[in-house]
Subunit: 70 residues, 2 copies
C-alpha cells in the first residue's frame, strides 16, 4: 500500500524531529510500544484514532502524516 509508506516515512520524520524514540512516543500517546515500530515498518495499517493520538503528542496536524515528498 502506497499510503502506508507515506505514513511510515512522515511518522519517523516527525518523531525524530521531536527527539523521541519509538517507545517514548508510544508511552506518551498511551499506545502499545510495538505499535509505532509496526507503523514505521509498514506492517500495520494505522487507524485514524491512532494517527490522532500520535499527532497530538507530536504537536502536529494529522494531515502531516499523508504529506508526500516531505
Amino acid at each position: 500500500m502506497r499510503l502506508r509508506e507515506t505514513v511510515a516515512r512522515n511518522l519517523r520524520r516527525l518523531r525524530q524531529a521531536k527527539g523521541l524514540s519509538q517507545e517514548e512516543l508510544a508511552d506518551r500517546a498511551d499506545i502499545n510500544r510495538n505499535y509505532v515500530g509496526m507503523l514505521e515498518r509498514e506492517q500495520h495499517a494505522a487507524t485514524i484514532d491512532m494517527l490522532e493520538k500520535l499527532a497530538d503528542v507530536l504537536e502536529t496536524d494529522p494531515v502531516e502524516f499523508f504529506r508526500r515528498g516531505a
Copy 2:
C-alpha cells in the same frame, strides 16, 4: 474523536460529489457494504488502507479526508 468527525464529513461530501450511494462506493472499493456507513456515522475508526481504497474510487488524494472546514 475529532478526526473521525472530519473524515466522516469529508467522505460524505466527496461521495455525494461523485453521485454515489454508500453501497455503490463500497462495491467499487471492494469493501464491506456496511463499512462506508459506519465511517460516515463515526462508528468505526478507518484504517489508512481503507482510506486509500476509497480515495482511489473517489479519484481524490487521501489527504482530502483530513481537510478541515471543507
